[in-house]
Amino acid sequence: MSVIFGNFIEELPPSTEFLLLGFSPSSLPIKQRWRNNGLSADFLADYMTTFFPSESASKHADIKNTVSYIANELLENAMKYSDESLKKPISLGLHLFDDKFIFIASNPIAQRAVPAFQACIKEILESDPYELYLQRIEANSESDTPAHSGLGYLTMINDYHALLGWKFEEMEDDPAIAQVSTMVQVSL
């Protein structure tokens, strides 16, 4: 069984170019893997500029920045919220279409963490994202930002005009785990 929120395309049309990065859970502590988020995001960004040979330097810089920012945020979230004890891989796919990029990040989370995450998603989808961003920042200015503040997603929506969607799936082999996929679409 699966549940969908926001703009999530279940059957992606074939794209001419795509990259898929996979991260297996291992004994490497998250801090050492954290460094890979930036390296992976920058690699995806650099790689994708190849497909825009005739664009100007400033357009290249813009594409690089957008891919790098979004890929980095998705990887940070996937690393942060995956339950390391679950021993399931994390992946990040980036698909190039004529008019847009589509990112899909997938990671396992514990079922008990699902309600809070879904509540955060619903609030993002039902609010004015800019007002919600300001409200969250003002509310948290004296305290630490809670888990699932959604601020990373809100910056993608507000600053990069991204469309976001999520899919939650039950794991057949383990009812205590859900697989969450986050889709981010940005126009070129």
Partner: protein
């Protein structure tokens, strides 16, 4: 009392430091630390810079190539702190050649209306 003449935090690919001679906080490189706790040493530099107003603080971000959302949150929260203090003026300097700055820095002005934003 702040006794930090020059305070600095450095990592593998970033550097943040405060130069009290010019009242300038400089940020360089790529900042993608893993959340509020890891940003705490940088927050300390920012907050001690405005500990004794009046001050005309400059934040020079023209060499800051990348900032993750946790870093954007840190800057946003700092603007609220600065807004709440009398006698604190802030100028943020950005670069047109670094696209995230044009997209994200304008939000800081909503949080601190007196902020001067120079993106050149």
């Amino acid at each position: 009392m702040s006794n930090l003449a020059v305070a600095e935090v450095k990592g593998e690919d970033y550097r943040v430091w405060y130069d009290s001679a010019t009242n300038t906080i400089n940020c360089e490189g790529s900042l993608r630390l893993g959340g509020a706790e890891e940003y705490a040493p940088i927050v300390q530099i920012l907050e001690s810079a405005i500990a004794h107003p009046p001050i005309d603080l400059v934040m020079d971000l023209t060499q800051l190539e990348f900032l993750n959302s946790s870093g954007i949150n840190m800057l946003s929260k700092f603007m609220i702190k600065a807004r709440q203090k009398e006698g604190v003026k802030i100028t943020v300097k950005g670069s047109q050649t670094i696209p995230w700055q044009g997209k994200s820095l304008k939000n800081l002005q909503r949080l601190m209306p007196t902020l001067v934003l120079e993106i050149t």
